[in-house]
């Protein structure tokens, strides 16, 4: 199970191994990983082998984040509000994989409904980092990142509203890819913030990410925001020439001078990133430093919170325990719904709902919600402007390796906020965005991210693929470093 999709397919095709054997191995590994890191809500003991076809995914196990609706399989969103919810329909993306013969073997833990970046707020408990169980996986696709990194299967589905695929991928030393908004249908994905939510995948290689998204993508009559991408062939075109491609990075985020009291980890992380820029040049790409409005970057985290909380409070108002989910106690309907929601949601989510609701109040919309929408546009326009001159923006992910679960050893400074949160711009503008591992700090993986213009998924995958080939971190399996 530590092999790539192409390798596994070859083994299956030549009958050196069977789908059944892969499933057994994956389930066994699932239990080990569950024991050690608590990555799963459900392990599908009954998973059945499928016929091996020419489809690269046939017969191969994979994981599904538990905020995807899966037919006849518990789908909780890692929330007590849905702790017993068994949907009767599959999310479009899941259905497409099943149609391709892929075999779901577990449902992975997330931060409750994707609203969190730590992997610690799921209703089944904290997900630990397979490189160092005292550290976070980050989130919200925590279980998916952990399981792929630990070698349970070659890929798992994720969803990404702020950086929920790309950040945990970075902390776990794997690849995280969210394609252009609407390339994969969101039908059946439990919504967090509909204008920011993306489906995507976590893998151990760019090629695997290309294979999986090729299968998941496509226009869907159940999602008006999906579009026809039949002309895009990620796997076929991942080897495209990158020579003469132009990349840029943002000075305000990458220059150590902009940080008042940089940690050693931050220094190493940025230095490592600069080395990788040299690597890009060696591959024939041009790399330039650009400067963007610092004030705009500084408001980024608050803009994200404002938009995502506002949409979330509305999106999750269907969670009342009346039609599905455990019925609350009370004398009347209102009391029942209140009991369900009060008991069902974690404190973090409740606070965010209230903030979102306040922001949407008629008298507050202008100052908060509308202004957030305006800054969103300014940021997106800034990036779009960059794409007029550059093929992609390349940036380091986060301010270093995975943070500690107890937080005590992490020095969080206010001025790293934009560095921690810049991936959200990819969600603001629906840009295709991929994170790949780019080194180690103190034995723990760190990563860089490549984000391109909408619909240019093939391009950013080619760049990521070329860079991946030039670095020794492809297909790495997590091994505990302490």
């Amino acid at each position: 199970m530590d092999k790539t999709i192409e390798e596994l397919h070859e083994l299956l095709k030549t009958k050196q191994i069977t789908s059944k054997e892969l499933i057994v191995e994956s389930l066994k590994k699932s239990h080990e990983v569950q024991e050690a890191y608590n990555a799963f809500v459900t392990i599908l003991e009954e998973a059945e082998e499928t016929t091996i076809t020419d489809n690269l995914l046939s017969g191969i196990p994979f994981g599904i984040k538990d905020n995807y609706s899966t037919k006849d399989i518990l789908s909780t969103g890692s929330s007590n509000t849905l702790k017993d919810y068994v949907p009767f329909f599959n999310a479009t993306a899941v259905q497409k994989l099943i149609d391709a013969g892929a075999v779901p073997v577990n449902k992975t833990v997330l931060d409750e409904f994707g609203m969190g970046g730590t992997g610690t707020t799921g209703h089944t408990g904290i997900v630990k980092n397979p490189w160092d169980p005292t550290r976070m996986t980050a989130g919200s696709s925590a279980g998916s990142a952990c399981a792929v990194a630990a070698g349970v299967y070659p890929y798992a589905l994720g969803s990404d509203t702020g950086d929920s695929i790309r950040k945990p991928a970075a902390y776990c030393g794997i690849v995280g890819y969210k394609p252009t908004y609407g390339m994969i249908s969101r039908y059946g994905l439990f919504p967090f913030a509909s204008s920011l939510d993306h489906c995507g995948v976590l893998t151990r290689s760019v090629t695997d990410a290309a294979i999986v998204v090729d299968t998941m993508k496509g226009i869907d009559e159940h999602d008006m925001t999906s579009w026809d991408s039949s002309h895009i062939h990620l796997y076929e075109n991942r080897n495209k020439e990158v020579k003469n491609m132009k990349l840029c990075y943002i000075k305000e985020l990458c220059d150590i001078e902009f940080y008042e009291n940089p940690t050693e980890e931050l220094k190493m992380h940025l230095e490592n990133f600069k080395e990788k820029l040299e690597l890009c040049k060696n591959l024939g790409m041009e790399v330039e430093e650009v400067s963007v409005n610092q004030k705009l970057l500084d408001t980024l985290p608050s803009v994200y919170v404002a938009i995502s909380c506002a949409e979330a409070t509305s999106n999750m108002s269907n969670l009342t325990g009346i039609i599905f989910g455990p019925r609350g106690e009370g004398k009347n309907v209102t009391e029942m719904m209140m009991d369900h929601r009060t008991k069902g949601f974690s404190p973090l989510i409740k606070r965010r709902f209230i903030i979102g609701s306040y922001i949407l109040q008629k008298e507050n919309q202008e100052r908060y919600f509308k202004n957030a929408g305006r800054v969103r546009r300014l940021l997106v326009d800034t990036w779009k402007k960059l794409y007029e001159s550059y093929d992609a923006v390349i940036l380091p992910v986060g301010s270093g390796p995975a943070k500690h679960l107890d937080g005590s050893k992490d020095i969080l400074t206010k001025d790293t906020a934009a560095l921690e949160e810049h991936l959200q711009i990819g969600n603001f503008g629906g840009f295709p965005s991929i994170t790949i591992p780019d080194g180690f700090i103190n034995g723990l993986p760190v990563a860089l991210n490549i984000t391109g213009n909408c619909y240019e998924d093939e391009k950013i995958l080619s760049i990521a693929h070329a860079l991946e080939q030039a670095m020794p971190y492809k297909n790495q399996i997590a091994k505990e470093v302490r």
């Binding site: 908004y181 204008s195 579009w227 404002a306 019925r327 209140m338 603001f428």
Partner: protein, 101 residues
């Protein structure tokens, strides 16, 4: 503009059908003060009011409206299987009195 107060937090929580502890109430105010400060700065951005707020992820959707075709109703067993209180073909709740709208 009225300030965000602990009373308003409780009022909003009640409308969202959520119960909050006093500690949680205070945390809302603390978290919000950061957002307030940050987004407050936006007011000073030049020409900010002329920017059309972004409401959708993409500006150039080419979306087609759905043709007016009927799909079969979902089986009643599926519709009700996750509900804890069912009466016949319907979802049952304590008697709803009064109207919102």
């Amino acid at each position: 503009m009225p300030k965000f107060t602990s009373e308003r937090v409780d009022d909003l929580a009640a409308k969202l059908l959520i119960g909050l502890s006093p500690e949680e109430n205070q945390m809302v105010l603390d978290e919000f003060s950061i957002i307030d400060e940050n987004l407050g700065k936006v007011e000073d951005f030049p020409n900010i009011k002329k920017v059309e707020p972004m409401t959708h992820c993409l500006d150039n959707f080419t979306c087609t409206l759905r043709e007016d075709k009927i799909e079969a109703s979902i089986p009643i067993e599926d519709a009700l299987k996750n509900c804890d209180s069912v009466e016949g073909r319907e979802i049952e709740v304590p008697k709803v009195v009064g109207g919102e709208n």
